[in-house]
Symmetry: none
Subunit: 209 residues, 4 copies
DNA sequence: GATGAATGAGCTTTCATTCAT
DNA sequence: GATGAATGAAAGCTCATTCAT
């Protein structure tokens, strides 16, 4: 679905505000004002507030589509190297779209938006299927352990990033990083996350000593 | 703060509904009806909807106070055993108060409720200080590694549990467990989480191998 | 259904305004203002604008219930006398509740309010069944003609009154009665209608030369 | 006023929808869609929704202009025959333009459209003046009674047709004619009305017997 | 001449809260 | 202490109309 300039403005504003205040806490009036468009445009373009969010999810959920296929076929990379790239991809995706991710976290358990959660579940499923290929490859080559619980390992991958993302304010404070410039801080936690998660994945997956 | 019967009913109802629909998505009418009390009681007892939620947090946030002190002083337990107990305590706490935890996840980033987030940060800080004692003990005894990034390790601990908790529907489906009875499923994921997290903690903390 | 003072005020205001501007042409704001009550009271008491009108119809439709039963059993009255009383009853009913009747005329063909039109049809049916008894009695006694098309006769009865009622402004003008006081004019047209309709009924029903 | 193809389409659509839902219950969007034209065309061609209805009335009100003049001058016809033709003309006019007549009934009492009601009143006046000529002729020839209240007789004429027209659904049901084909039913009620109204006019007007 | 985009005003309804008792 | 009634504010949405092209 192609979006025009106004529609983009609206979804950006909605994403920003809903990341802060949630779907119900954000009024279409607020969104219209933030986007600098007329209030009626939201109904005009999307039909309703609800459908506007669906459009936002349809637009953004591509974020969760990783570039896995080409990497998986890459003969140059060993299974563990692939997993490491995977980790970095997840970190990049989630950190680069923090606002949208917050919206997702806030609304993912809402009963109403069945359509949306189903779509996201589908993406997760596809991702997991591809990742399972890497693991199978690693197990065939003997570099990965036999018994690997991928779903729960994914919980750790996404859960850790997500937790840091939603509590970064607290993380800053506890580590005395309040004065670190924002972009430097972002780099800092990406690096931290990357090292930490790779260590964990290594421990869980690797067959060596 | 002591709560009378009606106040308890109200907070229980609020917790249940807000876990599903969030703070803004839940009206005081809904809460009053779910609690079986008069609509005006909520303002009457708590002053406002906002203050009602603050009361709920004040009440429930004790959930996050772990029984760490006595355990830490326990001379019978080694540092790793203590960490394992810690993991199980977190799992128990979060899983036993899923509804409240969902409310927390949904609302933790709300700008307005500074008071609440501050309170939770304070609890987390206290917990981390105690846990740091265990780690120092392990390091002194030479059973733990020297360089340990506790804050990020906590992100993995809480993040993994929280992620499973908020996406358990998806987890059920992907693992073909839709027909497993609810309480059995709860036991199942606690066990899974416990083993998984202990493996991770072992890999991150332990000096052996 | 019992109505309290406020509810009565609301329905009276709604009736008045809808008689002038119709259902869709009358806003709940207008009604609230006319009734001197808060805007939200309408939803509070009736649930919605639509349901408010249903309540109005439920309240008012009793107007169309004539006092026929006792009259029919009256042994003192001949069939034609009964029909004449019937005519006067209809004139009284419709003229005494002009505002409501206008609402009815304006909305009776609305597709949506099935419930309401059904109710009114039911009342009409009941009335016609009773009137048919009078006619049968007249036919048995030989004072009424054999072939009488009651439904179309009722069209003339109600149609004539209704037409005068909805075009009384024009009637006034064409007859040069603009200066006649309102209540006198009302009396005038009732008398006119009464004589006119009785003449018609006599011609249609009576068996005499 | 000459109408082009699109304007005709618009007025036809408007007539159809307003007959069902009234002026306020019909949006210009609905009309544009029903007519298959662009939304902006309505304002473009007619200036406004209100003026569009005025155009519709200007167009349609010719319906109420009867072909009376030539008939009145017809030397072959007696006064009663003329009145009978008049009745049939009215039946034809109203039944052939039911949709427009419903719009008229629904909106005839609207305060705002002074211009429209005035126009219709003018037409009625002209009609009545012509009809009065017929009656005078009949009275001169001694075939009509002396005291004849024409305005109220017209109420019966128009009121009866109009009442049947607006409650034909009910009439169908009460007479068990739900299964009669639509056009046959239309013929049926025209015949019924014609006979019935002629009987009434005869009784009111004729000097014989 | 014709139209998709845009808009300000208004709609009905629901909200959290307060009032009178 | 407890509650049904009441209320101002704000919500999401639709309206007839106008604008830029």
């Amino acid at each position: 679905m192609e979006l025009n300039e106004k529609q983009r403005l609206i979804l950006d504003a909605a994403e920003k505000l809903m990341a802060e205040k949630g779907f119900d806490g954000t009024s279409v009036r607020d969104i219209a004002e933030e986007a600098g468009v007329n209030l009626a445009m939201i109904s005009y373009y999307f039909g309703s507030k609800e459908k506007m969010m669906e459009a936002m999810f349809a637009q953004r959920s591509g974020y969760y589509k990783l570039q896995l296929e080409s990497m998986i076929r890459d003969k140059e990379l060993g299974p563990m190297a692939k997993m490491e790239r995977l980790i970095d991809q997840y970190i990049e995706k989630l950190m680069n779209h923090q606002a949208f991710h917050r919206v997702l976290v806030r609304e993912q358990m809402v009963s109403g938006n069945k359509m949306i959660t189903d779509h996201i579940q589908e993406l997760k499923k596809q991702n997991q299927a591809l990742i399972r290929e890497i693991i199978s490859e690693g197990q065939k080559k003997g570099v990965f352990k036999k018994n690997i619980d991928l779903p729960i390992l994914m919980m750790t991958l996404i859960g850790t990033i997500s937790q840091l993302l939603t509590t970064q304010h607290f993380y800053k404070e506890i580590n005395g990083l309040q004065d670190m410039p924002a972009d430097e801080f972002q780099k800092h936690i990406r690096k931290k996350l990357s090292l930490h998660l790779k260590k964990i994945f290594h421990a869980i997956l690797s067959n060596e000593a």
